[in-house]
Amino acid sequence: MKKLMNAPGDFVDQALDGLTLANPSLVRDGESGRVIRRAEGIRKGKVGIASGGGSGHLPLFTGYVGRGLLDTCSIGNVFEGPNVGSCMDAIRLADGGRGVLRLYGNYGGDRMNFDMAGEMLEDEIRTTTVLGNDDIASAPPEESAKRRGVAGIIYAYKIAGANAETGADLDEVTAIAAKAVASTRTIGVSLSPCQVPGSAKPTFEIADDEIEMGMGIHGEPGIWRNKLRPADEIADEMVQRLLAEAPGNAGSEVSVLVNGLGATPLEELFILYRRVAEKLGESGLRIVQPLVGNYVTSMEMAGASISLCFLDDEMKGLLAAPAECPFWRV
């Protein structure tokens, strides 16, 4: 797998340099330079939202720092959690005096480091935690707390971010973030792998005519692997799996994210979206603010994920509130 890079060890830092150079609203900060924060800093009196995760998923995570979204983001090496120092820095830099929500995906390394960071700062800053766990393919429903966080986390960013901008307190922001996560379901399908810079091999192998349903954004094994099928069949299965896990209290409005994993052309995402919209319509659901594009990637992986965020009026309003980062503007 060919990469436009210099040395593997430079990959993350040079990408962050480029990201911040091209987007002056984002600034590198923190002891290891592994925090991205808003250029204008945190507004006093606002609850802060700090996220973080491994590199290799742009625009996630760092790209969602901005007004109405994240305040700070710690970032690790490719597919590795952010180190504890960066997590501490991200929390500190997000602190406007009213506490900080730690909002990130449910992965072991990320969790350990954000936990440690919170413990180390516990005398200084009040923190809460909400973990993204939207990937329905990563654990059965009865163990949903064990599920991995994937593309659907951007709904929690948007909804909690908008809530924090209104002046809500930490408990309120935490509650709405938790509600957004609890209302979001994602499933992905992969067509081809990616490769960690410096690794001699791709994260997995897959035949020229095969796809894998339910694969994670780091290439974690999915539910089944089989021959490529027509896009409509794939969309149908994904929608059906998502709807089968709709939250008990789901209303009739839903936002949809058809997300490209990195190497899948927009044309194909729109072909999928077309069918997804049709199927949701048939199920009596009304689509609100659909998103189609590369929002959460796995470097050069080909494939797509579909996320549904079941909305109530409160979340709907927050999703529609103004927000602005380099990759998403409402």
Partner: protein, 206 residues
């Protein structure tokens, strides 16, 4: 009574760093089967960082481990790397202010590290993680005074743990969902631990 000092630790780290150049891709491949394929690259980098860390003067073993713990924590936020930092922090706490540590205490140190890692990561023994290999070694070398003997017991115990767990399902980490599919595969963290035990024990032990 045989003991080790911080120079012994430093030599061991250097041997591990050398070993990683050979092990890196094997461990990546093992991780790729269950997870995200980065165990080897991550460990190579983290152990390389330890090898390059400058140790405080004075020969305090605890201070040395503390420097290693910080270097590890700076270098990664991966599960295994963070657990390694946790273990090093435990060693630091337990050996603070001492210039020499009895070999016979090593088993206890590993057991304390294992408990700290369990507390931090939330996994249990039997989940088929590095913890199971660590636990086996901690028990096997508990109270043994001879460095030579401790080394060969460690190699044997970690290898046996690997063999015993191969046919069991992984219960934590990225391999959670389809635990059954992990039967027959080595856990990358256990594999790393066993391989590194063998590497640092040197050709004498086995």
């Amino acid at each position: 009574m045989s003991t080790f000092d911080i120079q012994d630790v430093k030599r061991t780290v250097a041997m591990a760093a050398t070993a990683m150049t050979v092990l890196e891709q094997e461990l990546n491949a093992a991780d790729a089967k269950l997870g995200d394929g980065d165990t080897g690259g991550m460990l190579a980098r983290v152990i390389g960082a330890l090898d390059n860390a400058s140790l405080p003067d004075g020969g305090d073993v605890g201070a040395g481990f503390s420097a290693y713990a910080k270097a590890a924590a700076m270098a990664t936020g991966s599960s295994l790397g963070t657990l390694l930092a946790t273990a090093l922090m435990t060693f630091a706490r337990e050996t603070k202010g001492r210039a020499e540590v009895p070999v016979a205490e090593l088993g206890d140190l590993l057991a304390k590290a294992r408990d700290a890692m369990m507390a931090r990561g939330g996994a249990n023994l039997g989940d088929k993680t590095i913890l199971d290999a660590l636990d086996a070694v901690a028990k096997a070398i508990s109270g043994i005074d001879s460095a030579q003997e401790a080394r060969s017991k460690a190699v044997a115990a970690s290898g046996e743990a690997l063999d015993q767990f191969r046919q069991k399902p992984n219960k934590v980490g990225r391999a959670r969902m389809f635990a059954d599919a992990t039967i027959g595969m080595d856990d990358p963290g256990m594999l790393a631990f066993a391989r590194l035990c063998a590497a640092v024990a040197g050709p004498g032990a086995q």
